[in-house]
């Protein structure tokens, strides 16, 4: 998957409408984007690169290694990876994959017990010891500062920072019926927490000789499509994608070249967050057809994430697990052959 950095533009013309009409009725499954490519570079960013006057696509890989002026050290494995909210779900799966690949991993969670138990399980399942964890509530500025300090103390530097902590308060109901506490929790974790994490991550990485990559995990609604029954969640995830975009522009304006902000789209993952919403017919259909277990998703995402520092690439990317083509073919095979029926939840 490392060679996927050349954009396949023809996929962009894939019809969107059919999928929209199917998916957005009542339940909008996570990540039904019809993307341009698995790793789609943003041309705007590259065109303005001062060190590189060649057309960016052809020279992307070369350019990165030739423009090492600001970067004193190239990134070489093993990488130091920090994953917020890595005690369960997709974050846990990512941590496991990174460990298997030989990287050093730091995870965090809101409760100490969950951190400890996650660390134990990770050590047992992977047989590797270089994993650390700490308590951190991402919406508390102090906690995040401590997390960055903890990371610095344990690993000296962080190459890959994944903002994974996200919440839906495990409730799927119309906004008017949602409780205030849930709404506040969703927004503070997903938006406020992510912003503070991004700030701390940039702060930390700016001063590292190796620079760093920040990955923000998106979710349903980040393409702007409606997400009824979890409106607040969708709004926060939309704001995540927008924040990534703004940060990319901001870093470019400030001439910061060694910190790159990316988007990461795991698609629909059969975590608690998604499964708690499996109570309507449409939701069940899409979960069965499109969702994958966290391990499968992580097995795909981690090599893709690792390929970015390996290639020395400096352009912002949007890594997607569930691409449009994949979603279409899965929906087609379900309708045509009844594949994946009752895979995770019983349909009637």
């Amino acid at each position: 998957m490392a060679e996927m950095s050349v954009p396949i533009t023809s996929i962009q013309f894939f019809p969107k409408s059919a999928l929209c009409s199917l998916s957005t009725r009542k339940f909008n499954p996570h990540d039904l984007w019809v993307g341009s490519a698995i790793v789609s570079p943003s041309p705007k960013f590259c065109l303005k690169s001062k060190y590189n006057s060649l057309p960016f696509c052809a020279a992307a890989v070369k350019a990165a290694s030739s423009s090492e002026k600001t970067q004193t050290e190239p990134m070489i494995p093993p990488y130091n990876v920090l994953i917020t909210g890595g005690s369960k779900g997709i974050g846990y799966a990512l941590a496991k994959e990174f460990l298997k690949a030989g990287d050093n991993v730091i995870i965090c969670s809101r409760s100490d017990e969950r951190v400890v138990s996650a660390l134990d399980r990770l050590r047992v399942e992977t047989g590797k010891q270089h994993v650390w964890g700490t308590r951190c509530d991402v919406k508390e500025g102090e906690d995040v500062k401590n997390l960055a300090a903890f990371a610095k103390q344990k690993l000296k530097y962080i190459d890959i920072w994944i903002n994974n902590a996200g919440s839906n308060a495990y409730s799927f109901k119309p906004l008017a019926e949602a409780s205030d506490e849930d709404l506040i929790q969703v927004v503070t974790t997903n938006t406020l927490g992510l912003m503070i994490c991004c700030r701390e991550a940039i702060n930390l990485m700016q001063n590292q000789p190796r620079g760093g990559h920040i990955f923000n995990i998106d979710g349903a609604g980040s393409d702007g499509r409606p997400t009824p029954r979890f409106a607040a969640y969708g709004a926060t995830k939309r704001s995540v994608v927008h924040l990534t975009k703004s940060l990319q522009a901001e870093l470019e304006m400030q001439d910061v070249k060694n910190v790159i902000v990316h988007n990461l789209s795991p698609g629909m993952v059969t975590t608690d967050l998604l499964m708690s919403g499996a109570n309507t017919k449409q939701a069940k259909f899409f979960i069965n057809v499109l969702a994958e277990p966290a391990d499968v998703v992580a097995e795909y995402l981690v090599p893709n994430i690792r390929s970015i520092p390996t290639n020395g690439s400096r352009k912002p990317t949007y890594i997607r697990f569930l691409t449009g083509l994949k979603a279409y073919s899965q929906i087609f095979s379900r309708i045509a052959f009844g594949a994946r029926r009752n895979r995770y939840v019983l349909e009637d």
Binding site: T24, K26, G141, E142, P174, L175, A176, A178, D180, E181, L183, I184, V187, T188, T191, L192, M195, I196, C198, R199, I202, N203, Q206, G221, G224, R225, P226, T227, P228, R229, F230, A231, A232, G234, A235, T236, K237, R238, S239, V240, V241, H242, L243, K245, S246, L247, Q248, A249, E250, E252, M253, Q254
Partner: protein, 506 residues
């Protein structure tokens, strides 16, 4: 087309007339004011936009049933004439003064009737002229004549549509609205509150600090008093129900928001329009330089505040028989384009746009309308704090005062129907004009050094009444709804078709 053009011209004329009449003491005794009042019902549209006292017709709260009012203007007219004639002929009323009053009233009503008839005649004549020209051009070709007759029929139908649209709009404008505006003690919120208030609505203002709420209430009441004093006749009657109340409320606190909803419902009875205007930005700088508190305040005001307020508004409006309308304010980043230096603000506004689309689906079968209002760029603290000289040069071209924006947004917010409408200040014609006149707009608000050239709010308000009388071309273009433009366009296409096809045959 004739109808539209005519109505329009008449509004302007009588509007000036009105002002001359009210500005100086009447020259010829009682004649002038009387004429003025007679014009009233017809110029609502124009006046709504241009004069200090918007919105003429006023229905008491009991009549507040939207659906059944389409035919009212005509019925009212007939009823009024009948009662006027009746009171004239009653012997008991034939004392000198009462008789004169009754006669005056009759005269007034008859004048109104004559106006309606005159309008009709002119419309008919203009269509007749168009048809006559068509017949002349067709040169007696029977097929062509048939075509002309059909297009005449089409024209009549379209004309009726436009007419009924105007009437419906006029009816929809009537009556006071109960409005809640969050974050309305300064900037655009205050301007919106003032505009709603002067349209005869009952307004709830809120802000985090109780002191500024009190100050704002006092100031708005003062404005209202001035407007009432300046108003005459029906305009004053319309303002009779206007009032402003307020309470302190932090929109990011669920308890505060619930209290606000309860307060508004208790104080006003029901809520028609809820505007989520509260928003904050904390200056223009990179994310790294924002403190935790800054980020938290922006997110909690913009995103949490809007979500909680929307939720509260939906909960209240769902139980109301008339439903209601919720407006969320757009801002930089709503469209999805990146907003460097205001990353936090931009991403909250972008999230709000997605929220709007989700809520649109959730509220599909309810009477609650979810809308967005986009004020464009407004010269408020939010925009100006931390802006550079280069920024300010750009502001010269595209920025407007909050009062100007509110004057455009409020009338359309009051009459909003359905759900999912976007009410924008910066519409294509406005942007076009701004770009075309960019050269003239240099130094409009700021000079080369970025110093503000415009008057403070108090001074602006003093000149307000005069400013409002100035006719704006873009306002006029905005006056007609999209449907009307489509009708006008199709009508002109029909006309063009007639002319083209007839010239081709001869």
């Amino acid at each position: 087309m004739a109808i539209v053009a005519k109505v329009h011209v008449s509004t302007l004329e009588c509007h000036h007339y009105y002002h001359r009449g009210s500005g100086h003491p009447p020259l010829s005794g009682r004649v002038l004011p009387r004429v003025v009042t007679t014009w009233d019902p017809l110029i609502v549209k124009g006046r709504r936009r241009i004069v200090v006292q918007p919105c003429r017709s006023f229905k008491s709260e009991d009549e507040y049933v939207k659906g059944s009012e389409t035919k009212k203007p005509v019925n009212k007219l007939v009823g009024a004439i009948r009662s006027a004639v009746w009171s004239c002929s009653k012997p008991s009323l034939r004392t000198e003064i009462k008789y004169r009053e009754a006669i005056e009233k009759l005269e007034e009503r008859l004048f109104l009737l004559a106006l309606y008839v005159g309008r009709y005649v002119i419309t008919m004549m203009s269509t007749g002229v168009v048809m006559f020209i068509g017949f002349q051009l067709s040169g007696g070709d029977s097929q062509m004549n048939e075509l002309i007759w059909y297009s005449w029929l089409g024209g009549v139908i379209i004309g009726t549509m436009i007419g009924s649209n105007l009437v419906l709009d006029e009816v929809a404008r009537a009556g006071p609205r109960n409005v809640v505006i969050t974050g309305s003690t300064r900037g655009l919120g205050k301007a919106l509150a003032r505009e709603f208030l002067l349209s005869g609505d009952r307004v709830v203002v809120t802000s985090r600090s109780p002191e500024s709420v009190d100050l704002t209430i006092k100031e708005l009441e003062e404005n209202l008093k001035q407007a009432v004093n300046a108003a005459t006749g029906s305009a004053r009657k319309k303002l009779a129900h206007a009032k402003v109340v307020g309470m302190a409320c932090d929109v990011s606190e669920p308890l505060d928001v619930r209290k606000l909803g309860k307060f508004a419902a208790d104080e006003l009875g029901y809520i028609d329009i809820w505007v989520n205007n509260a928003g904050t930005n904390k200056g223009f700088r990179p994310l790294l330089q924002f403190t935790n508190n800054d980020i938290q305040e922006i997110v909690s005001t913009n995103l949490i505040g809007s979500i909680l307020c929307t939720k509260e508004a939906i909960q209240i409006m769902r139980t109301q028989s008339n439903g209601g309308h919720v407006f969320n304010m757009d801002g930089a980043g709503s469209g999805g384009s990146s907003t460097p230096l205001t990353a936090v603000y931009g991403s909250t506004k972008c999230g709000l746009r997605q929220l709007q689309s989700s809520l649109l689906k959730e509220c599909k079968r309810t009477k609650v309308g979810m809308h967005t209002a986009s004020p464009g760029m407004v010269l408020t603290d939010l925009l100006l704090s931390g802006s550079t000289i280069q920024n300010r040069q750009m502001f010269n071209i595209i920025c407007e005062h909050p009062e100007t924006v509110a004057r455009t947004l409020v009338p359309r917010m009051r009459v909003v129907k359905g759900s999912g409408r976007a009410i924008n200040y910066l519409t294509p014609p406005r942007i076009l004009i701004a770009l075309v006149t960019a050269w003239l707009r240099r130094g409009r608000w700021f000079d080369d050094q970025g110093r503000a050239l415009y008057a403070a709010e108090a001074d602006r308000l003093r000149n307000w009444a005069e400013n409002r009388t100035r006719f704006s071309f873009t306002d006029a273009m905005e006056m007609y709804t999209e449907n009307t433009w489509i009708s006008v366009f199709s009508l002109s296409v029909v006309c063009a078709f007639i002319i083209l096809s007839s010239t081709g045959s001869t």
